[in-house]
Amino acid sequence: MISEREVESIAKLADIRIQKEELGEFTVQFNAILEYFDVLDRVEAAGEGRADLVNVFREDEVRPSLPVEDVLANAGSTEETFIKGPRVM
């Protein structure tokens, strides 16, 4: 069972602000979601992944990168060809 405190801390880590009065509602939803996994755990052969599907690789061959205009197209703010982000330390 997930507690309200855990939901609060997960919201903080996810950088999502939620109101105190929303905590109860989200806690119920979290627990409901986790119950689905309990159901999956009870399914036979669940968790038996494709054990043979390993070692999927790409060769070390250079492919063209995006034009810098495209890279910056979605950026809210730029300086020269840098993307501006919030100050962090």
Partner: protein, 473 residues
């Protein structure tokens, strides 16, 4: 008080492309965000595709450092928010790393061999680069360059087996050297190696120092930290268990509020990548001659001293250079490369690959047949290196020697100078006959000045002494 140090070392692998996409890693002089694709930027729908070369390089390192490679390993997501990480997570390896339990031998502070245990090696992607510019209007934001985002890294974690900052530095030098011999790493690239160090004094809490990005920085940061912790204890304070950042410019570490606890990273297996089963690749990896083996061979094959062999093999390019110029007199070559050339290069901030081996061999040939004195040899070398440092074409040392007339004074010229000096300084001659020992040295000094170092002081001394003795008779 016993010091305990463990290191986490991040090294960039020198593949042609990034770890999970085909963007070129060769962005050194290019503008920000020009080596970037949807995978680097975490655009919706972009999926990682693993670079086979990066895995092979990491396995080379695992083999060279004697690690056990896992039968199966996998990637995990390490979740945290930071502008250098567009996905909101870093793809790394967590509970199922590529390889574990290795060992590296170094020299302890007392000169005896010492084993440093390696905990693990894993593969991960480098985050982007943040730039903070100064200025009042710029204080509020960071500038982000994703060219570095996705460069393959290996993280090498040691057990807490190091006992001093000097040992830590020796370990790093050995590691760097080994990675260069394996040709998986370019140590000259800025930020190619970054170190986090865990350090504690026995019986006290451990402190993690992050953000050390040079070899010298490691020794400096650790030395600072040991002094700081000892002072804290001497004042009766307990050491706070914390993360500190190393400020390279100021040479100090500063407390930084730790971002997240280990559990806050919410690691889980990366669903977009399949596990790896690559242990059998080891059979196809043939390791090159590594530094220790090469050192032993240099001593045996060239008959040079252990110290010279250690210096010469301490850098792969230097060792290659030495083998090209060793020629007929490897001992002479070792002395000139290790004792003279290295210092002259350091002084000019030049790298060994700037020196054409044929030029240096030309110089050694002149010294070897005694055509020039050691001093003239150094002069010719300096002239040649100065030309190189100024961006000009380097002259052959024999050409420099001829241009400046540096060939050894001999025969007539030599006798003439000796005679002139004796003639010109009757007072000194008288002093000599009155038993004043300094007089002979004075006369030799004068003669050396006349020949501008083209003569051996000992030869000149012998010749002048003959003249003086004859004068008396």
């Amino acid at each position: 008080m016993k010091v305990i140090i463990g290191l986490e070392i991040h090294c960039q692998l020198n593949t042609d492309t990034k770890l999970f996409c085909g963007c070129s890693t060769d962005y050194r002089d290019d503008p920000p965000n020009t080596h970037v694709c949807p995978v680097c930027l975490a655009l919706p729908g972009a999926l990682p595709r693993l670079n086979t070369k990066a895995v092979e390089y990491a396995l080379r390192v695992a083999k060279a450092l004697n690690l056990e490679v896992a039968e199966e390993c996998e990637f995990s997501r390490k979740n945290y928010f930071y502008p250098d990480l567009p996905k909101g997570y870093q793809i790394t390896q967590y509970d199922r790393p590529l390889a574990e339990r290795g060992v590296v031998e170094i020299e302890a502070d007392d000169g005896t061999p010492k084993e440093v245990r390696i905990t693990r090696i894993h593969l991960e992607e480098d985050p982007g680069r943040l730039v903070h510019r100064s200025g009042r209007d710029r204080a509020g934001y960071s500038l982000v360059d994703y060219n570095r985002s996705g460069i393959p890294l290996i993280e090498i974690v040691t057990e807490p087996d190091l006992r001093s900052p000097k040992e830590a530095r020796r370990f790093l030098n050995k590691l760097r050297n080994t990675l260069e011999y394996l040709e998986v790493f370019d140590g000259e690239r800025e930020g190619a190696i970054r170190v986090d160090a865990n350090i504690s004094l026995v019986g006290h809490n451990r402190v993690e120092c992050k953000n050390i990005s040079s070899y010298k920085g490691v020794e400096k940061a650790l030395t600072f930290e040991i002094t700081r912790q000892k002072n804290q204890i001497a004042r009766g304070h307990e050491i706070t268990r914390e993360t500190r950042h190393f400020n390279e410019g100021r040479g100090i570490t500063m407390s930084s509020r730790s971002k997240e606890e280990e559990t806050d990273y919410r690691y889980f297996p990366e669903p977009d990548l399949r596990p790896l089963r690559v242990r059998d690749w080891l059979d196809d990896i043939t390791l090159p001659e590594l530094p220790d083996a090469r050192k032993a061979r240099f001593v045996a094959q060239y008959g040079i001293s252990h110290n010279h062999a250690r210096t010469l093999t301490g850098d792969m390019k230097l060792a290659n250079f030495y083998e090209k110029v060793a020629g007929d007199d490897p001992v002479l070559a070792a002395t000139w490369v290790a004792d003279t050339l290295l210092g002259e290069l350091n002084y000019r901030d030049m790298k060994i690959d700037r020196v054409p081996p044929a030029h240096f061999a030309d110089l050694l040939a002149l010294v070897r047949v005694d055509a020039i004195t050691d001093r003239s040899g150094v002069d010719a070398l300096r002239t040649m290196l100065d030309e190189g440092a100024a961006g000009e074409e380097m002259e052959l040392p024999s050409a420099v020697v001829d241009r400046f007339g540096l060939r050894k004074a001999a025969g007539d010229e030599f006798d003439e100078v000796a005679a002139q000096v004796v003639e010109a300084h009757p007072d000194a001659v008288a002093d000599y006959h009155n038993g004043k020992g300094g007089a002979l040295n004075f006369l030799v000094g004068q003669a050396m000045r006349e020949t501008r170092g083209r003569a051996d002081a000992r030869d000149l001394g012998r010749r002048i002494k003959e003249l003086l003795e004859n004068k008396e008779a």
